[in-house]
Every structure is written in structure tokens, then in C-alpha cells.
């Protein structure tokens, strides 16, 4: 797209005659304003830098005291004891277990809802259902945590299903987290499916396919990159979620794959150490940042993957 040579820049589709109107003698004020606006936009870059710096500084201090192999591969997490262990695997296991359970719920429900909204629902139904999904997405996570702890664990898991679970367990937190993540997946997948050109659908219907075949064999594959983006973003949200797991799964590290056990995720650990408010300079304080760094890097990787997939199906954005 041809862009004028003046610093006025170009919005998409600006006519190439634009440059004539803002000739070389653009006012000084315009320049200043542009720099001010750019400065505002740079705040976001500064934020990212600040996050990286704040995490990195303490993590480096931490890694000077604790070898990175001990940290990443150790299986015991007891950082505050007289003879401490710094293996982060129990926290990672907690995160993976709860995320896995969440995805187990969120992917089928989210994709199901997306297909229904995109291919089956009449406009009137869509108008009622979409706000409901938005409502689900807008509920604060601490409320979900409350629900998991006081309703799902005692009434559903213990009474209804008769499972031998303690008050804190990964299953309850994971399931509810699934419902929390589901709107994210549903919304992105539905966007992707709606963007599939009508011609593809109409061609299939014209050849005699029924709605199920069109949805699953035509629309779904065509929208796959957007759908994958949604799922990856959903996983990222589950990994980064704090309150639901803190309230319902507990905050005590436990290396286990059993969903009936209490677990602590990376996020729950960060919150509980910060609540106890370890003093600056202590190793406990530094573990907060080291785990935070691990969390940030994991979600960053997932977010970048998701963004690349989104780019594949959206043209310019």
C-alpha cells in the first residue's frame, strides 16, 4: 500500500493524493501531538519491559543460589524450610493437572457451543445466547472459586458422586475452571467459523450434504487455524488462572496425577507467598519471581502460538 512520505502516516486505504494536502510544511503542533500519541503507545512496550525486568532481576538472584536443574527438575518444593528444596515440579504438576481437567471440559463445550451458534442457531437464538456466554465470561474468578469450594466439592463430588475427596482437590477446581475458559474458546472458534465464506457452505449444501456434514467436514476444517488459536488461548488462560485453584485446589504443593488430591499451582503458590509477604532479599521472596518467570514464559509462548494462528485466518487486523 503506497504510503505518503510525510510523517502523517497512512490509514488503510488512504488515497494517494493525501500527501498533497499535508505538504512539507506540516505544523509544528502536529508533530508534537504525534510524538505524544506515540509516547502513549510506547507505555505498553514499557510495561512489557518492566514485567521482564522485574521478573528477570530476582530470578537471576535466585538462580545464583539455586542451580537451574534443581529448580526445573527437582520434585520437592519446600523453599522456606531450614533445609530447603527448590524443585518446581510439584507446582508444574498442579498447573498441568488442573489445566488438563479444565481443557477436558472447555474444549468440547466450547466447540460445541461455537458450532451451534455458527451453523445451527437462528439469529434470534444467537441474540439470546451470546449475552449469556458473555455473562459467563464476565463472572469474577473468585466467584467461580467460591462455587467450586462450597457447592461442587461437597454437593457434587462428595454427595452426588460419592468420591473420596478432601475439601481441597484438583478435580473441583479443574472442572469449574473449564467453565470459566469455555467462553474464550467458544468466542474465538465461533468468530473463525463465521468467517468461513458462505460459498463453501452453499456449495456443500448444494451437493446434498446435511448440516452436520457441512459443519464438521467443511466449516470446521476451514476454520481450523482460528479454532486452534482459541484452544491455545484457552489453555493459556487456564495456566494463568489463580483464584479458582487457590480457593478450591489448595495452596500446598503436591506432586501427583490424581485429581482427587489437593494441589498447588504455580499461580496459587505465588499468591500464597505474597500473602505471607516474605521480606525483600530472602530466598522465599525470590522464589516468587522465579516461579513467576516460569509462568510468564510459558504463557508467552502459548500466546505467541495463538497469535500466529489467528493471523493465519484473519487478513489484516
Amino acid at each position: 500500500m503506497p504510503s505518503p512520505t510525510t510523517p502523517g502516516g497512512s490509514s488503510a486505504g488512504a488515497p494517494s493524493t493525501g500527501s498533497k494536502l499535508v505538504s512539507g510544511r506540516s505544523r509544528r503542533g502536529e508533530h508534537i501531538i504525534q510524538w505524544l500519541l506515540a509516547a502513549a503507545a510506547l507505555v505498553s512496550v514499557a510495561t512489557t519491559l518492566a514485567i521482564v525486568v522485574s521478573l528477570l532481576a530476582e530470578t537471576i538472584l535466585f538462580l545464583q543460589k539455586v542451580p537451574i536443574t534443581d529448580f526445573l527438575f527437582g520434585t520437592e518444593w519446600a523453599p522456606t524450610f531450614a533445609d530447603p528444596s527448590f524443585g518446581v515440579l510439584p507446582l508444574v504438576a498442579g498447573t498441568l493437572l488442573t489445566t488438563f481437567l479444565a481443557i477436558l471440559v472447555a474444549v468440547p463445550l466450547g466447540l460445541g457451543a461455537a458450532i451451534y451458534l455458527s451453523e445451527y442457531a437462528t439469529p434470534k437464538v444467537r441474540k439470546t445466547l451470546k449475552p449469556i456466554l458473555e455473562l459467563l465470561a464476565g463472572i469474577p474468578t473468585v466467584v467461580f472459586g467460591y462455587f467450586a469450594l462450597t457447592f461442587v466439592t461437597p454437593l457434587i463430588l462428595q454427595d452426588l458422586l460419592g468420591l473420596e475427596v478432601q475439601g481441597f482437590n484438583a478435580l473441583s477446581a479443574g472442572l469449574i475452571m473449564g467453565f470459566m475458559v469455555m467462553p474464550t474458546i467458544a468466542s474465538l472458534a465461533e468468530d473463525a467459523m463465521s468467517s468461513v465464506p458462505a460459498a463453501l457452505r452453499e456449495g456443500a449444501y448444494g451437493l446434498g450434504a446435511n448440516r452436520m456434514q457441512v459443519s464438521t467436514r467443511v466449516v470446521f476444517p476451514a476454520a481450523l487455524s482460528g479454532i486452534v488459536a482459541g484452544v491455545v488461548l484457552g489453555i493459556s488462560r487456564a495456566v494463568g488462572e489463580t483464584m479458582i485453584v487457590l480457593v478450591a485446589a489448595g495452596s500446598i504443593p503436591n506432586l501427583t496425577a490424581n485429581p482427587l488430591d489437593p494441589v498447588a499451582t504455580m499461580t496459587a503458590f505465588i499468591a500464597s507467598i505474597a500473602k505471607g509477604d516474605a521480606a525483600v532479599g530472602s530466598v522465599a521472596y525470590e522464589t516468587l519471581f522465579a516461579v513467576g518467570m516460569l509462568l510468564f514464559v510459558s504463557t508467552l509462548i502459548m500466546n505467541m502460538i495463538s497469535i500466529r494462528f489467528v493471523r493465519k485466518f484473519r487478513q489484516a487486523y
Binding site: 502523517g8 502516516g9 486505504g13 494536502l21 499535508v22 504525534q34 506515540a38 502513549a40 503507545a41 507505555v43 505498553s44 512496550v45 510495561t47 512489557t48 518492566a50 514485567i51 522485574s54 521478573l55 532481576a57 463445550l109 460445541g112 457451543a113 458450532i115 451451534y116 449469556i132 459467563l136 464476565g138 469474577p140 474468578t141 473468585v142 466467584v143 467460591y146 462455587f147 462450597t150 457447592f151 467453565f179 468467517s195 465464506p197 449444501y205 446434498g208 446435511n210 448440516r211 452436520m212 456434514q213 494463568g240 489463580t242 487457590l246 499461580t267 505465588i270 499468591a271 500473602k275 525483600v280 516468587l288 519471581f289 513467576g292 509462568l295 510468564f296 508467552l300 500466546n303 495463538s306
Partner: protein, 298 residues
């Protein structure tokens, strides 16, 4: 959003006369079940909270300070803390968010690498876990160079940074939906770029921007994890009196009460949840009202 039309009427295909065959019918029912299950969980959650907390709601509850005896405990400091935090956050995100959006939409050349970096950066920030923002606030604002301590200022700024990407994205959408014809008309009449932006584009985009700001703030209201890390106090006896007060907030108070094992506190938590949800519904209604009333079809 695209404008794909539904290709055939929603009724079953005319070519088959014996009704919907089994597999597609099961498929459709499964899809409907997925939606029904989600709605069911949502309803159960709301009813559960209402039943647990309804009995504790009262004027006293809304106007008393927190207390270690459940019978006397109230959420006044928490409500005021939340309002103060949101005010600080709003002061941050409105100018920064709108300015960034204007820059990215009106002034930035998308082919330049630095502008692309800014864009990708904002998308990333929108997906960073909220607790990481709390760590940022702890390291930079509470301690670190600025050393505000665990005060409303620090908490509000942290929340502001957290939802800033949401505002930027929403404001960009709003600005983008203003048709080029408006801009070109103004430029053709001799206006400078800034004049065009300030007097034509922005006013047209304000409803969308306002909606975005309100939605961002309603997200900020429900955030607990960053405030825990920043250090919202465990027990606060009085209402915040300034930007340098220690504070508590509604979600924090809810979390504190949930963490107490006595059942009375769980009921209090439910009551506070009801208050929080009411505030959120109120804010979202304003946003939806704005969107519907002022949305212009160009």
C-alpha cells in the same frame, strides 16, 4: 465479524421426507446439550450464591466495617476501596488507552517494524496472566524505584496497567469503524490531521470507546490475584481516606471470608459476591445501553 448468511432455512432439508436421520439428530442434540450444560452451571452458580448470601444482605452489611465477628461484619471499606481503585485505574487508562489507539489507527504506518512491535506487544499483554501484573506492581510500584507501598495508588495503577490493553483494543475498533469518508471530507476541507481526529473521528468513536472503558473497568473490579500480590491488607478497620491509604477491595474481602473455615463467613462471602455481581451487572448494562443507543450505522 462477517456477514455470512445462513445458506438454507433453519428447517430440516426439504429433500428428505422421513425426518432427520439419526446421526445428524444426535449431533444436533449434543451441541444443544453443550450449550444447555453451560447455562445450567451458570444458573446453578447464581442460585447457589443467592441462596447462601441472600439472608446476610442488609443496609448494615453495606455500611459496616469488617469485623472478626460474623454477625457484625460488613463491606463498607471493601466497597469504597473498590471504588477508589477503579477511579485511579480509570484516570490511567482513559488518556493512555485512547491516545495509544489514536496513534495506532491514525498515525502509525503499519509497515514499519516498530509499529508492528507495538501491536504484537499489546496483544501479548492482553493475555498475560493477571497475577504477573501483580508481580509487576509489587516489584515496581510497591517496592522498587517508586516505592508507593501497598496503597490505593499502587493497587489502582496495577489494575490500570492490567486492563489497558483491553481499552486500547476496544478503542481501536471504535476508531476503525469510523468511515474513511469522514476523514477525507475533513482533510479535503483543509483540516490538519489532528483537527480531523479531534473534531471528527474521536467524537464519532466516543460511544465505542466509552463502552470499551466500562467493560475494561468491570473486568478490573473482579480481579483478585494482582491485588493479593500487591498487598491489599488482611484486615482494615476504616475506609480509605486517600491515595496513600492501605486498602481492601470487594474481591479481596470475598476471598478472605472464603478462606475462613467457619460457615458463617462463607455466607458473608456469598453476600459480598451478590453485591459484586450487582455492581458488574449495572456497569455492563450501562455499556450495553451506550452501545445500542449511540451505535451509528454508517
Amino acid at each position: 465479524m462477517t456477514t455470512s448468511t445462513q445458506p438454507v432455512p433453519a428447517a430440516k432439508p426439504v429433500l428428505r421426507s422421513e425426518g432427520e436421520p439419526l446421526a445428524p439428530r444426535v449431533f444436533r442434540l449434543v451441541l444443544q446439550a453443550a450449550i444447555a450444560l453451560s447455562i445450567l452451571v451458570l444458573l446453578t452458580l447464581l442460585i447457589d450464591v443467592l441462596m447462601d448470601g441472600g439472608s446476610k444482605l442488609s443496609m448494615d452489611f453495606l455500611t459496616s466495617p469488617a469485623s472478626s465477628t460474623p454477625a457484625k461484619a460488613g463491606i463498607e471499606p471493601a466497597i469504597l476501596g473498590t471504588l477508589w481503585l477503579i477511579a485511579v485505574a480509570a484516570v490511567v487508562i482513559v488518556p493512555l488507552g485512547v491516545a495509544s489507539a489514536i496513534y495506532l489507527e491514525e498515525y502509525a504506518d503499519p509497515d514499519r517494524w516498530y509499529n508492528r512491535v507495538i501491536e504484537v506487544n499489546i496483544q501479548n499483554l492482553a493475555a498475560v496472566p493477571s497475577i504477573v501484573y501483580g508481580i509487576l506492581g509489587l516489584a515496581f510500584l510497591v517496592r522498587g524505584p517508586i516505592e508507593l507501598g501497598a496503597t490505593i495508588m499502587a493497587g489502582g495503577l496495577t489494575l490500570g496497567l492490567l486492563v489497558l490493553p483491553v481499552v486500547i483494543i476496544a478503542a481501536r475498533e471504535a476508531i476503525r469503524s469510523v468511515p474513511q469518508a469522514i476523514r477525507q471530507g475533513a482533510l479535503a476541507l483543509g483540516a490538519t490531521k489532528w483537527q480531523t481526529t479531534q473534531r471528527q473521528v474521536l467524537p464519532a468513536a466516543i460511544p465505542g470507546i466509552a463502552t470499551g472503558v466500562i467493560l475494561a473497568l468491570s473486568r478490573a473490579i473482579g480481579e483478585t490475584a494482582p491485588l493479593i500480590v500487591v498487598g491489599a491488607a488482611v484486615f482494615v478497620t476504616s475506609n480509605p481516606s486517600g491515595l496513600d491509604s492501605k486498602f481492601t477491595a470487594l474481591p479481596i474481602q470475598i476471598f478472605e471470608w472464603i478462606s475462613r473455615p467457619q460457615e458463617e463467613f462463607q455466607l458473608l462471602a456469598a453476600a459480598a459476591i451478590i453485591v459484586l455481581l450487582v455492581i458488574l451487572v449495572f456497569m455492563n448494562s450501562i455499556a450495553i445501553f451506550l452501545r445500542n443507543r449511540y451505535q451509528q450505522k454508517w
